[in-house]
Amino acid sequence: MNSKMTFYILKRIFLAIFTVWVVITVTFFVMHAVPGGPFVGEKATTPAVQAAMEAKYGLDKPVMEQYFTYLKDIVTKFDFGPSLKQRGRMVIDIIFDGMKTSMVLGLIAAGISALFGILLGAVAALRRNKLIDRIIMVITTAFVSMPSFIMGSLLLALFAIELQILPANGSTPAGLILPIVTLALYPMAYITRLTRSSMLDVLGQDYIRTAKAKGVSGRDIIFGHALKNSLIPVITYLGPMLAYIVTGSLVVEQIFAVPGIGRAFVSSITNRDYPMIMGTTIILAALIVIMNLVTDILYKLVDPRITLE
């Protein structure tokens, strides 16, 4: 690793931190621009009670002071304040509770989509323009044209209601099968297409021809040269894939009633639980930003041909 690389990584880390700060700031001021405040519409509160509530949560202070307190609490204590609707619970605890289920869901979905995507993509590329390639391409094209919540609803209708072979409720381990499949199908289709095109590209390279001419066996060419090199573009998709899975899980958890962070987020939107909306947005955004950072750095490390600015 040379100094140029170190400089690049430092620059990227700085940009990532800056982005997270922008997210926190935007989220804070946007939420505080909402007219009425969080306690309006609460059943039967007198102005005195409202004032007391606002004083309790520090909402009576000037906005800038609230902002710096919020920022300081996040940086020093990783504290996002208390939830307004689930009394007595801290936002960060609710998020961590939901995160466990969501992590399992997201990681398995990511693993499945990477595994099957690479496999199908490689098969399609090696059998280019044959029947199996056509079938794979048609199916993946259909999958990338369907929003995740429609995919989820259709799977729910088919497997849980029509055929009744899988549970519709996602609170049990078996119930996680459908949400995982729903989340995995789109990235899987995308990875398949990505792998196929990059594998076709690699198979046309001179070093593959050289290897063939040297008499390297077909299997060694595929696994030793072609597959390894064609996976580089797939690495760039890791970040976007995580972003897709995070946002996809918001609706998928809603459809299958999975007790994860996505469902907590959606219900906090409908409940107007402001600290919860802010906390979840910031944490999920930070997760995506970090993942994009890791992807970018990994990409540069794996492929030395890529020039650094």
Binding site: V23, P35, T141, I150, L156, A157, I269, I277, T281
Partner: protein
């Protein structure tokens, strides 16, 4: 006349009138084709893209035309008559079933227009709701990409044209917006804009569009222009360095001429293609927000809100989910395939 070596004497043979055989070379065999016509020809030959184009045209036309002559409207609750009790027999009709009063009319020998897809839980004709939802989704997708196109082009050309500090500042802003997780920001901004905009637009014509759709457009205008502006900037930067621009400058062409004859024609295909590919992503986003309750205002339907409404009666009326799901997938699929075709036809470089 003998020609002397190294002399400047003119060879008069070169100046005799052309024979008919010589003239044949000058005849235009086929008219020279423009870049645009060439691309259209290539597009026409691409069967997949052509079929997708037909599908898009058919869906668009039917979503515009059918509501004009269809006897039902998307918001009329057929069971609700002023001054009478609500007739629940109109709710949740299966396809080609009729409500109680309609049934009577049929028995009297009158003909009643069928409810092709039945009615929904509030007794509204479902076919026209799907058609109208298609119109709303397409319009949202179209206008969102027009907004992205305008802002992206403006910022991108400013950045590419001026360069220097302006470029540096704009590109840093683009970097930050680019690394923001767009969906989360969309949800956040839509939530807030919905609450902020609703009282502001009350009573104006904007109310009919709904605060949610306006906030969707605002969000697109704020966040989604970045990749477009990057693209335009890159195009302008690379085109500016091309030899033909240099040669035009050398022969004394003015800036306006160069922009009109060289920069715009070479840039426009890339711009239009990425705008076309923006439409399905806008439709996706709208349907996603509709599902979270941040989409169009009831009773106006969009394909996303129809699909999410259908979830409530999924076990009894699965077709109400399947129909909008099919339409949305068909639209997105054909737009994607057509966009790919456009790219292949108009920008062979991209696909190399």
């Amino acid at each position: 006349m003998a020609k002397k070596k190294f002399s400047f004497h003119v060879d008069l043979d070169s100046f005799i009138p052309a024979s008919d055989k010589d003239k044949e070379y000058m005849v235009q065999m086929r008219p020279s084709t423009t870049f645009f016509r060439d691309g259209v020809k290539r597009l026409y030959r691409n069967k997949v893209a052509f079929v997708s184009f037909i599908v898009i045209i058919l869906i668009t036309l039917s979503s515009i035309v059918i509501p004009f002559f269809w006897p039902y409207s998307y918001e009329t609750q057929l069971g609700v008559q002023p001054g009478k009790a609500v007739d629940a027999s109109y709710n949740n009709l299966a396809p080609f079933e009729y409500g109680a009063t309609e049934q009577k009319l049929i028995e009297q020998g009158e003909s009643v227009f069928p409810h092709v897809f039945g009615t929904d839980a509030a007794g509204r004709d479902y076919f026209i709701r799907v058609i109208y939802g298609t119109r709303v989704s397409l319009a949202v997708g179209f206008f969102a990409s027009v907004i992205v196109l305008l802002i992206g082009t403006l910022v991108g050309s400013i950045s590419g044209y001026f360069g220097g500090k302006v470029d540096l500042i704009i590109m840093r802003i683009v970097d930050v917006i680019y690394s923001l997780p767009d969906m989360l920001m969309v949800i956040l901004l839509s939530t807030v804009l919905k609450l902020t905009l609703t009282p502001v637009i009350e009573g104006t014509f904007l109310e009919a569009i709904g605060a949610n759709i306006i906030s969707l457009f605002i969000v697109f205008a704020l966040l989604y222009w970045v990749s477009m502006s990057r693209l335009i900037r890159g195009q302008i930067l690379s085109l500016r360095e091309q030899e033909y621009v240099l040669s035009a400058q050398a022969t004394g062409a003015k800036g306006k001429w160069i922009i009109k004859k060289h920069l715009i024609p070479n840039c426009i295909s890339v711009v239009i293609i990425s705008a076309a590919l923006q439409i399905p992503s806008a439709i996706f986003t709208e349907s996603y927000l509709s599902f979270l309750g941040l989409g169009v205002n009831a009773p106006m339907p969009s394909l996303g809100s129809l699909a999410s409404d259908a979830l409530n009666g999924l076990s009894s009326y699965p077709y109400r989910l399947v129909i909008p799901a099919l339409v949305i997938s068909l639209i997105v699929l054909s737009l994607n395939l057509f966009g790919d075709g456009l790219r292949d036809a108009f920008d062979p470089k991209l696909n190399a």
